[in-house]
């Protein structure tokens, strides 16, 4: 018997993720949750069959000494139309393209033909899109050390052809000495946005013809005690002192992404409160600012993440952002190696990945640098482990995503079935109760809605539901209420009349009140 038990135990044992999933409840307390993603595999050079680069018979042949691993790869781009992942293999000065199903290498590029410099020099950003003007697939590479952004078309799986090179702007508006683009992004009108080293006035914006158009979406200075103190000192300091003072400048953002509607999302590594994650409209205005009573929070909520290794609370360092084709926002936290996934309304959907566990373990990251999504998979590029971790959506994650997608479209009733499935798997998933509450509210089941909102501790929605519930109650019991009110008034009136006429229905208690002698109450 014992043997059988032992056997079933070993049979049911499985390798779990090296991290715990959690979500935040209405008090910003972390509540353990189900994993919405699990590690499917990791892609290293071996999985990519990168040794083909050393095989002279192979069309991808590069040379006998072609590096067989990634090296400090900085960026990754998932081009969903052709099911390709483009990897900026920065230190090896090359771009790798792998297939998203087999993870095998399909193309490798070491430079762009017909451009000022043939070879790449530490390319740190890559962006692939379909150009409407050329009617072709075009690749934009932030060729960092060559001080350029190259726009190229694809000739074959070994050569890129240059279309245009965006170099350091000559206008006076551009004041920085260097031009080292780190990340690049292109909108539908083929304007090119680059995050450039040491430029803190936003991303550098080029028009499609290569004109420098200015800067886009600068960060603000995070107001800290030091900044306030300096503001006061500045007011009383002399000219000489002012010159010696440090200036408070906003931090540059680390990365950005663009969604299907053309909104640009940025992440900033150092800030926590101000502009950590921004959603910029075409005018460069941050939609997710916390000015109008909103409270958008990203990453781990500070004060709740205790790290036993450093014996302190740490803050998130958000390093990359990706908007999936279904509208979910994935934010990569360099500090903890976590990917935070948000829905369109910035509600935390799930989180996965870690850094605390040993980095040799699958699912644990050492130096995560980029995140990309493709269908139900999330890819995280690690620039120290030189691999890509593939996270795959679990059944729980599938229900959560489906529910959130319907919910965000306002199809609350249709989302109900998915929320029910979510609750079956994780009864502590706060947002499921909000979703169910809204479904009930839509169906005019007010008491049910109130119950759900109470469970989720969602006071705003409870308030709305309460208003309807109260209205419904008054409507349903209108006659009864009127009857009671009329009866009460009648009772008081008759009592007064009877009192005036000196008729007593209720006999007073025979015992007279002991102390009260005269009725002289008040000022009399």
């Amino acid at each position: 018997m014992a043997a059988v038990t032992a056997m079933t135990m070993t049979l049911t044992a499985f390798a779990d993720e090296p991290y715990n999933s959690y979500n935040y409840d209405s008090w910003d307390d972390a509540i353990p949750s189900q994993s919405a993603y699990r590690v499917e595999t990791t892609i290293t050079g071996a999985e990519m069959k990168i040794d083909r680069l050393r095989d002279p018979a192979d069309p991808l042949y590069m040379g006998e000494d072609a590096p067989l691993t990634l090296s400090e790869a900085r960026d990754m781009f998932c081009y969903e139309d052709d099911k390709e992942i483009w990897i900026a293999d920065s230190k090896n000065n090359r771009l790798l393209v792998i297939d998203t199903d087999t993870y095998e290498l399909t193309a490798v590029y070491t430079g762009v033909a017909g451009s000022s410099a043939d070879g790449f020099n530490s390319p740190q950003g890559v962006f692939v899109t379909h150009s409407a003007s050329l009617d072709k697939k075009v690749v934009f590479i932030a060729d960092t050390e060559n001080s350029r952004v190259v726009k190229a078309t694809i000739k074959d799986n070994r050569t890129l052809e240059c279309v245009y090179e965006y170099t350091k702007p000559t206008k006076e508006l551009y004041t920085v000495q260097t031009f080292n683009p780190k990340k690049v992004l292109v909108d539908k009108a083929e304007n090119v946005y680059c995050v450039v080293n040491a430029v803190n006035t936003g991303s550098v914006l080029f028009a499609v013809n290569g004109d420098f158009k200015g800067f886009y979406g600068a960060n603000r200075v995070q107001v800290t005690a030091a900044v306030i103190a300096q503001k006061i000192w500045r007011a009383i300091a002399s000219e000489e002192q002012l010159q010696g003072m440090k200036r408070n400048v906003p931090v540059e953002y680390a990365n950005f992404d663009i969604d299907n509607l053309g909104f640009i999302y940025t992440v900033t590594e150092q800030n926590i409160d101000t502009d950590a994650v921004k959603k910029l409209n075409p005018a460069g205005y941050n939609i997710w600012n916390n000015v109008r009573g909103n409270n958008y929070q990203f990453g781990d909520l500070v004060g709740y993440m205790y790290d036993p290794v450093t014996n302190g609370n740490h803050s998130s360092t958000l390093t990359d952002i990706d908007i999936s084709s279904t509208g979910f926002i994935n934010v990569l936290d360099f500090e903890t190696g976590k990917v935070f996934q948000y829905d369109k309304e910035c509600n935390l959907v799930c989180l996965f990945g870690t850094k605390n566990s040993t980095s040799d373990q699958r699912g644990s990251l050492l130096n995560p640098s980029a995140v990309e999504t493709m269908g139900n998979r999330v890819f995280v590029l690690d620039s120290a482990k030189n691999d890509i971790t593939v996270f795959k959506e679990t059944q729980f994650g599938k229900y959560v995503h489906s529910a959130f997608m319907l919910y965000d479209e306002g199809r609350y009733v249709e989302a109900k079935a998915d929320w029910d499935e979510v609750i079956k798997r994780d009864g502590g998933y706060t947002y499921a109760y909000v979703g169910l509450g809204k479904a009930a509210l839509n169906n005019e089941e007010y008491n049910k809605a109130l119950k759900y909102f109470k469970t989720a501790y969602d006071q705003e929605d409870y308030d709305k539901a309460f208003k309807y519930a109260r209205e419904a109650f008054l409507r349903d019991h209108f006659v009864l209420i009127i009857v009671i009110v009329v009866l009460l008034i009648a009772l008081i009136v008759t009592k007064n009349i009877l009192k005036k006429k000196g008729i007593k229905i209720f006999r007073k208690r025979s015992k007279p009140k002991p102390r009260r002698i005269s009725g002289g109450e008040g000022e009399g």
């Binding site: 008090w27 307390d29 109470k454 501790y457 006071q459 409870y462 308030d463 709305k464 309460f466 208003k467 109260r470 009140k513 102390r515 009260r516 002698i517 005269s518 002289g520 109450e521 000022e523």
Partner: protein, 209 residues
């Protein structure tokens, strides 16, 4: 002239803020029993405010319910107020005895307690848009109680209005002092206990060898 029951007197002082406490003092009325009930009700009102306020208004952290802070905020604060006020005003020609201060202060708190209960009741039937009603009730209670408290202290000590305000301000200072010393004393005793306990452990280890 005024002949009321004890409850009648309570009603009288509440609804006659100007003369009520003077009458009470002149007639040597006021019951310590009722005062204690009022203090208890103050505590109950605090608990009700935390636990029974309508869901849409309740900002309390519902995962933990600790009664000690509520007890301190009601009962302990009240008696510190009484003792502080007595200690201070005895030195400054106040005529109030400890018992009188206790009774008068408790009587003055009644509007606050009643309005808190009312606000809690109302909060269960209104939505956030209408929260002004609830706030109006609770502010009414607070202001009324403050007015009564000033009158109560004025009558108890036979002070002028200005002197009453000054004495009340310094009573609050005295309260802080008392609470500070109490906490100091507590931590001191805790250390004495810890010291004794460590000696006990030490000896018991030695004996066991």
């Amino acid at each position: 002239m005024y002949e009321f029951t004890q409850m009648g007197w309570l009603k009288h002082v509440i609804f006659h803020p100007v003369e009520g406490f003077e009458d009470l003092r002149w007639k040597k009325q006021g019951s310590i029993k009722i005062a204690m009930i009022i203090v208890f009700l103050l505590f109950v009102a605090m608990v009700a405010d935390r636990q029974l306020t309508g869901f849409q208004f309740n900002t309390a952290y519902v995962k933990v319910f600790n009664i000690v802070p509520l007890l301190v905020q009601s009962v302990v604060y009240f008696f510190t107020w009484v003792i502080g006020n007595w200690a201070l005003c005895t030195l400054f020609d106040g005529e109030g005895t400890l018992k009188k201060i206790c009774i008068y202060s408790a009587y003055a708190l009644v509007p606050y307690i009643v309005c808190t209960f009312l606000a809690v009741f109302v909060s269960n039937f209104i939505v956030q848009e209408e929260s002004i009603w609830m706030n109006a009730i609770s502010y009414l209670g607070i202001i009324w109680s403050v007015v009564l408290m000033v009158q109560a202290m004025k009558a108890a000590h036979q002070y002028t209005f200005g002197k009453t305000l000054v004495s009340m301000f310094f009573t609050i200072v005295a309260m802080l002092l008392i609470l500070f010393l109490a906490i100091l004393l507590l931590s001191l005793f805790q250390q004495v206990y810890a010291f004794g306990y460590s000696i006990y452990t030490e000896i018991s280890y030695r004996i066991r060898g």
